[in-house]
């Protein structure tokens, strides 16, 4: 989806293959590879706390990309993404304990299982749009949540389900450090998958359905198939993210997968930028780090002349929630196209600096 009309000088494309790359320029590709390499080496310097944050970013990031494919690229809406995330978590644990399937296979299988469920609940999308679809998917959220509570064979009911750690060739990935690499691999893999999807046939069909569904159909795109498939792929991502979450924590309980989580996913993709793969990741990083930064800022208050203000430290939990709400509102007002758009503007500014015109 690189639709950059302005290119840096000297960047001549001599083949369609070179013109079709994910990365707009070779510098961006180089930087991306270096970032991934740095991330591989990061555990050498970072302690467990940061690794936990990164793992959180990666499983939420995978699920959020799924939601962005649905909302940002296909122009539909889902308020049940948190439930699909939870379904993936339970499904992976269930497949592992009930059928003794190795965890490495359970994770993709859980993805496909969630995909099937997502497509089932996505069926109304063939008929309804917008607000009405939002309400229909809200039903999915509550039905699946109720299912977690009742289906003890699947989710362990109120007591939750145990999930074994990932085991590869006899090595258990049961620490933050070892799981970090699994999370990193999954994140990179799923994002490359997303980028490639959006530059191939079906990804274009999604965007076509979003931009003008009538002419998309006249152009030979099967509308209902792609509306449903979009739900499927979005749930697939949610399932993978959920499964990673389950095998990271080792224990899954139904409490977390509420409507609040679904809305949080929506907030991530809106803040990051609807219809942007890299924006999704930015949004997730932002949403995960925001409460942490707030917390450490409150901690730093001890060093200021005002010292520790009890009202702030005690009410930290509430302040965090309020800050998230405030940030979402501010984003909708000042940068409705998300962080990805802002990033593009910053880049464009520096591209011509200091010759602004």
């Amino acid at each position: 989806m690189s639709s950059l009309a302005m290119r840096p000088c000297g960047d001549f494309r001599t083949s369609y293959k070179a013109d079709n790359t994910i990365f707009e320029t070779s510098t961006i590709r180089l930087v991306t590879i270096m970032v991934i390499a740095l991330a591989c080496a990061a555990p050498l310097v970072l302690d467990g706390y940061f690794l936990t944050l990164f793992i959180q970013i990666s499983y939420l990031g995978i699920a959020a990309l799924g939601l962005n494919i649905l909302v940002g690229f296909t122009g539909q809406i889902s308020l049940g993404h948190g439930a699909f995330f939870g379904f993936g978590a339970f499904a992976s644990a269930w497949l592992n304990t009930s059928f003794n399937i190795p965890v490495v296979f359970c994770i993709p299988l859980a993805g496909f299982l969630t995909m099937a469920v997502g497509m089932m609940f996505g069926m109304p999308a063939a008929r309804i749009k917008g607000l009405y679809l939002a309400i229909a998917t809200l039903a999915a959220q509550f039905i699946i949540q109720d299912f977690f509570g009742r289906a003890e064979w699947f989710s362990g009911g109120a007591s939750g389900a145990m999930a074994a750690p990932v085991n590869l060739f006899g090595f258990e990935f049961d620490t933050d450090l070892s799981f970090y690499f699994i999370a990193l691999f999954a994140l990179v893999f799923m994002y490359i998958w997303g980028c490639n999807l959006m530059r191939s046939r079906d990804g274009r069909a999604f965007v076509a359905v979003r931009d003008h569904y009538l002419s998309a159909e006249i152009m030979g795109v099967k509308l209902n198939k792609y509306r449903l498939l979009s739900f499927g792929i979005s749930s697939f991502y949610a399932g993978i993210g959920g499964a990673l979450y389950a095998h990271y924590l080792g224990y899954v309980s139904a409490e977390g997968f509420t409507i609040f989580m679904s809305i949080q996913f929506l907030a991530m993709v809106i803040i990051g930028g609807l219809g942007s793969v890299k924006g999704t990741l930015m949004g997730v990083v932002f949403m995960v780090l925001l409460p942490e930064v707030l917390e450490s800022m409150v901690g730093l208050m001890n060093y200021t002349p005002w010292g520790d203000i009890p009202m702030v430290t005690d009410g930290l939990a509430y302040i965090k929630e309020m800050a998230i709400g405030l940030v979402i509102i501010l984003f909708l007002i000042f940068e409705p196209q998300g962080l990805a758009h802002r990033w593009g503007q910053i880049k464009n500014y520096w591209k011509c600096y200091p010759f602004a015109y």
């Binding site: 191939s200 046939r201 274009r204 931009d211 159909e217 006249i218 152009m219 219809g275």
Partner: protein
């Protein structure tokens, strides 16, 4: 060599009490440029929508290339080779021009959501590039290479019309339906567009069914002209015959005598 490619029989289409089309029949020969003219609200666009599948006529049948397409979905008709452009632009506004045209290749491509993302190890890349080559030929033909990477929604009206035509050609259609391809264009753009229509008709061998209000263009490039008025077919024939018809002049051209007519054409 007058083989029929499109055969419309006794089409009737009504929206509640409004009869958009009443018993309209016509045939289009393969390789022809067929124009539909008529006053506003005569049912021209409804006719095109019925052929492309947007509307389902209540009565009558449409045969395309020997196949009954009356009850087919629009996307299946695209597979058969019916492409179209719209009166009010219907591009994918946030996609680049290139991607817009690539969507036209959709039904000719095979890769799906599983093989597409495995871009480098699956046939996806090869397919993508071979279709890209074809799309580039169309881009070249319509002279829009300078806006290839621009977002379609940011282009000027005339260019958008051209991109839409490119998207329709990318379908590899046998029949192309053009809904007012020259509306809102200046003389130069009109001349270009007329040239493109003739080229795609003569070089690519695509049959053209076109709605147009510019009588000069219609009379110059069409092989056959049909006149609709209030959802009914007034006349269908060679351009000269149609122009000479008294009903047409009353209904559409609004001219009193032959003297005025000569001034227009």
């Amino acid at each position: 060599m007058t083989e029929t490619i499109l055969k419309v029989e006794q089409i009737s289409l009504a929206f509640g009490g409004v009869k958009a089309l009443t018993d309209v029949s016509f045939e289009v020969n393969r390789g022809a440029v067929f124009s539909i003219i008529g006053p506003n609200g005569a049912g021209k666009t409804s006719m095109l929508n019925s052929i492309s599948g947007r509307y389902r006529p209540q009565r009558g049948s449409i045969h395309f290339d020997g196949q009954d397409v009356t009850h087919m979905r629009p996307n299946d008709r695209a597979d058969l080779g019916i492409g179209r452009t719209f009166q009010n632009l219907a591009l994918f506004g946030h996609m680049s021009v290139l991607d817009n045209i690539m969507v036209g290749r959709h039904h000719l491509m095979k890769n799906n959501w599983l093989t597409g993302p495995l871009y480098w190890v699956s046939p996806a890349q090869k397919e993508e590039l071979s279709h890209r080559r074809h799309v580039e030929e169309i881009i070249d033909f319509l002279d829009i290479s300078h806006v290839r990477k621009s977002v379609a929604g940011t282009l000027s009206y005339g260019l958008r019309k051209r991109v839409e035509l490119a998207r329709a050609i990318a379908l590899n259609p046998k029949l192309i339906l053009l809904d007012e391809p020259m509306a809102g264009m200046n003389l130069e753009e009109k001349e270009d567009m007329a040239r493109y229509i003739l080229d795609l008709n003569e070089e690519f061998g695509i049959t053209v069914v076109m709605i147009e209000h510019d009588m000069g263009v219609v009379m110059d490039i069409s092989h056959e002209v049909m006149v609709l008025d209030f959802g009914k077919r007034l006349i269908c024939g060679l351009p000269d015959e149609v122009m000479a018809d008294e009903h047409v002049r009353q209904a559409y051209l609004g001219l009193e005598d032959n003297e005025q007519l000569k001034e227009v054409v």
